[in-house]
Symmetry: C2
Amino acid sequence: MKNYDSVEYEISIPYKLSVHFTHNIFSAKNPLLCDIICSDNKTEPRKVLVYLDSNIPESLQEQVLTYFESYDRYLKLSCLSSLPGGERIKNNEAHLKCIYEDIDANSICRHSYIIAVGGGALLDVVGFASSTAHRGIRHIRVPSTCLAQADAGVGVKNGINYKNKKNLIGTFQPPVAVINDFSLLESLPSTEILLGYVEAIKVALIKDGEFFNWIESAMDELKNRDSDAVKELIYRSARLHVYHIATSGDPFEAGSVRPLDFGHWSAHKLEQLSNFRISHGEAVAMGIALDTIYSQLSGYLEANDSERILTLLSRFNFSLYTEVFRQKNPHGNFCIIEGLQEFREHLGGELTITLLNSIGRKFEIHEMNTDHIIEAINILEHHEKNRSH
Amino acid sequence: MKNYDSVEYEISIPYKLSVHFTHNIFSAKNPLLCDIICSDNKTEPRKVLVYLDSNIPESLQEQVLTYFESYDRYLKLSCLSSLPGGERIKNNEAHLKCIYEDIDANSICRHSYIIAVGGGALLDVVGFASSTAHRGIRHIRVPSTCLAQADAGVGVKNGINYKNKKNLIGTFQPPVAVINDFSLLESLPSTEILLGYVEAIKVALIKDGEFFNWIESAMDELKNRDSDAVKELIYRSARLHVYHIATSGDPFEAGSVRPLDFGHWSAHKLEQLSNFRISHGEAVAMGIALDTIYSQLSGYLEANDSERILTLLSRFNFSLYTEVFRQKNPHGNFCIIEGLQEFREHLGGELTITLLNSIGRKFEIHEMNTDHIIEAINILEHHEKNRSH
């Protein structure tokens, strides 16, 4: 019997990561968006679908319409639609299906463009639809919250929740471009601006001690949402995130390491256990606090550094403790501990948790001590009580 | 106001395409599957989900169970499940959700393995689930039909139908490996073996005239499903398909060119118009015949070559004509013509259709003449009538 050799090839798929910073993206005077799209060198106007987060003031709709009229030689607005912002959009697949319907009804093709303007959750859902309809339609992300501009919006991941499990379904698909429009932040309430700082603090903690020092020094300006300070924070945070994705050697996370998710194993679980009443930003602040104390309790991080981190988070008004930390399963065990296993499953392979050696320096461990986690929770509760007195 | 420069990086994601050829993949004596999985160098047994096409004889289930028992040092069978084969699995998202359920219920992670054994439709659905659950779980494809072994199973695409639109939702995601197990073909009815030849004929027509000559010369053996001839056909077809994907410069189809889809624009539409009563293989044979005659009518292909192609298809018992070609929409126009527009949408950008210059030599056009298409349909009808007399 004849034997047939295996057929083997190595292929490599190139992607460009690009994040732009601008103001008033949909002002007719601002050519950035049109320029980015027109770099495809087509002659006919490209079909464009635009999705706006319902949390964005309605006046933007008018701006979008006017913008597309001004650029109608190059762009054809096929559909302008509003979708709910916040985590609920990721929990209800009806929204995903709406996007597929629009794509089908408007004969959108792989060379058309889908633009999502919104918070991280909306970007995740529209990004997932874009990456799967026709096996991938060109996609542009315009993050509209401080959190999304500093972090979630500039990544290569998207996804939806399934049965309340965060991001159980998703893809890796870099958008054609991310456009951070600082003007979109103006209408946000201050609480939401401050919420956005948490991922900047996170990336500073694991990658750039000098950036952390700057955040400390710019605390007052940041709390007062001084626009120069906010922009600087977003720019530096976004740049660190993208730099990490591009240079870590594993942008689509084939391995088990995910240092950008510092503090996230418990954060994801807190979101889920609270039925998403605790927002991602709030949960990440608690998750960072927990793993900071854990780093200290395990002898890796000095008390002084740990204290600086907790103080900074507290001064930005983040709660560092919630009763949800103490929720128990029917077997009487802390539900939060299950988050470790779920985090491992989501990453795959070995459990890998990022901890801190010092401010700006991270390392990885592959096992966590449950007693230390409980002790860290006790410390957080105590810390929070002292603060409110 | 400070201006912030764009942050730009180029990244590149490496993939391996590999297709193996074997017999009795689930015989305990055959280490191939386990060897492929164990190249990940883990120490603990990997969790594996296995999906079997309901068209495969049930005895395979026993074999799978025995196989995993034999290799339990390396592999842990978390779930063995049967799914319906054929296009219906792509039309009903309940099956996709079943797979997500299994993944969630069995705590499958990105480093686990999902093995699909089945025809092209089942591979498409399991592949889509694998590529989206946890943003991508390792996946191994074991095509069980001649068609899938020669073509669909060895590609980098997967997908499901949406609202009857073929592959409206899907991803590009090369599996860890494709394993073509010739033994799986033994239980297939001869009509199905012959159906599988169509994609081999297609790839021969566009890329390898010598392979077409061989198919002509091996006609009798192939019709009698002589096992050496069938294997040779599958091997050469699979190799040509993979070679094309790896070397065409656009494996994830960012452009508009898709020469491997010769004859497919009308084939997809025939499948849809017939509500999938016409199978993919049957539809592709008609689509190839249509574009062959079209190539001739447009003056690109010599009559002699065209005749050789139609004769070969007819001698393999493919119908080259169906009344579905003449189905009209409410406006009185041929529905099949709409397939051109849908094909363009699915590919994106400019319409690009592959035609033949000669046997083994293809070229692309960007517009089709409707009158020539109708004339080609008339010729096919005539050809088919003559044949039945």
